[in-house]
């Protein structure tokens, strides 16, 4: 009997190897999909992100060196323009200080202050998912810098703070972020003006608009194109009031009980270079 088995293995060496590899993959899929194993992925992420940092750094250096001459000329022109702007901003700044004082007083009066005790960890994007099937963003800060799983991530573009996503995997020196446009990323959101709530999730592509579902149908009259959508603060993951995007389309299907809104994210993910990880534990957000 053992001879028969050995004969079979010897004859079908390639097929047996494939079967072993497929079984290994399936077993690994079964286990890791139930999140029983996280350790090998974290170790692997640490190693691979080390190389990603290297690659990213080399190519950035080449690109920056080549572009520095052009940038120098641009900088000279911009300096002149900036000097003019500074003078105008100086005046604006004085006005802002005055307005801020007034705003603070008003906020205290109507008890609307929701100050978030959030420290921010700035991080640089070093890589994106290599495959078109998944969408993750890898940054150069990890558990060593205080990054934890499920921490919300924001970024600034065009003077606006916008939600990027949440941390899904952390190694010592790097972390993976699940971006807003990924179908797995779900965010409870609210229309800033009309206060209606809904659930946001992505369509899988960074240049595509995201979708806001389950918005009550009666909201259709009070919603306008361009309305700002912010995080609702429900679910204990994202703090309240972070900008998500603006309404670009309203879909009211007769057979559905809720509206479907197409949202253009505040953040242009194709231009994303730096992000801020909010050091908020889920319990803190929930308490708020």
């Amino acid at each position: 009997m053992p001879g028969l088995f050995e004969g079979f293995v010897g004859k079908h060496k390639r097929g047996v190897t494939l079967a072993v590899l497929v079984l290994l993959s399936l077993f690994s899929l079964l286990v890791s999909n139930r999140t029983l194993i996280i350790q090998p992925k974290e170790v692997g992420l640490s190693i691979m992100s080390f190389f990603q940092k290297g690659f990213s750094g080399v190519f950035r250096w080449i690109g920056e060196t080549a572009g520095s001459i052009r940038l120098l000329q641009q900088a000279r022109e911009e300096l002149a323009a900036v000097n003019l702007k500074v003078q105008a901003l100086d005046q604006t700044n004085r006005d802002i200080i005055q307005l801020r004082r007034e705003n603070q007083l008003l906020r205290e009066q109507i008890d609307l202050i929701h100050s978030l005790p959030a420290d921010r960890i700035s991080a640089e994007v070093i890589a994106k998912d290599h495959d078109n099937l998944f969408s993750t963003i890898t940054v150069n800060k990890g558990s060593r810098h205080g990054v934890r799983r499920d921490m919300p991530v924001v970024a600034y573009q065009g003077d606006l703070e916008g939600l990027v996503g949440k941390v899904v995997a952390v190694s010592a020196g790097s972390a993976q972020i699940l971006p807003l446009y990924d179908p797995q990323c779900q965010v409870s959101a609210r229309l800033e003006r009309s206060r209606y709530e809904g659930l946001i999730n992505g369509q899988g592509q960074d240049r595509q608009n995201i979708l806001m579902r389950y918005v009550k149908k009666i909201a259709v009259d009070s919603i306008e194109y361009g309305d700002l959508v912010v995080t609702a603060g429900l679910g204990g993951l994202y703090p309240k009031g972070i900008n998500v995007g603006r309404i670009r389309d309203i879909l009211a299907r007769g057979y559905e009980t809720s509206l479907l809104l197409e949202i253009e994210p505040i953040i242009d993910f194709s231009r994303l270079e730096y992000v801020y990880i909010l050091q908020l534990e889920p319990e803190v957000v929930e308490a708020q």
């Binding site: 497929v22 290994l24 690994s28 079964l30 286990v31 999909n33 290599h130 078109n132």
Partner: protein, 170 residues
């Protein structure tokens, strides 16, 4: 010994390709779709060195891919091992001309990748862009990979270890 060396070399090439895909190749993405040069390399290596080298290097590179992605461990190894095995079975029996065959073989491999990812995602309840993949991204990636394949095949032909096709079963 030859197979071990070929597997290790293939793994090294695949590893470089994956790192390039996750960093620099994002800049040449078409409609956010980046080419899968690791898949092209896997097709080439499997066709030249047979199913054993193809499936083992594919499996090992798949593990590295899962480390860098949000995909569950086992997702990419399964796909890459199966593709490596299938293409390896044709080693030494398919005439690969400089242009047309690399394009056809790579396009079919991309389609196979799409089918396998859809199947695995459905079976294991994995939420990935895989479901949306067939809506357009698959076809863009298929075209992109096909266009790049003759150039990559030509470049890989320069490597001595992969120059001669090894007939499957020898």
């Amino acid at each position: 010994m030859n197979k071990v060396r070929a597997s290790l070399l293939a793994l090294l090439l695949l590893c470089i390709a994956i790192l390039l895909q996750s960093t620099i190749l994002g800049r040449i993405a078409i409609a956010s779709v980046r080419p899968d040069i690791a898949l092209i390399i896997l097709v080439f290596v499997s066709l030249r060195r047979g199913s054993m080298v193809g499936q083992i290097s594919g499996f090992a590179s798949g593990i590295l891919e899962d480390f860098m992605s949000v995909s569950p461990l086992g997702f990419h190894p399964l796909m890459r091992a199966v593709i490596g095995y299938i293409y390896g079975r044709f080693s030494g029996t398919v005439f690969v001309d400089p242009f047309l065959m690399p394009m056809i073989l790579t396009a079919v491999a991309t389609l196979l990748k799409g089918l396998l990812s859809g199947l695995v995602s459905t079976l294991f309840g994995i939420t990935s862009s895989g479901f949306l993949y067939f809506a357009g991204r698959l076809w863009i990636e298929m075209g992109y990979n096909a266009v790049l394949s003759p150039f990559l095949f030509a470049a890989l032909n320069l490597i001595k270890t992969f120059r001669q096709a090894e007939k499957e079963g020898t």
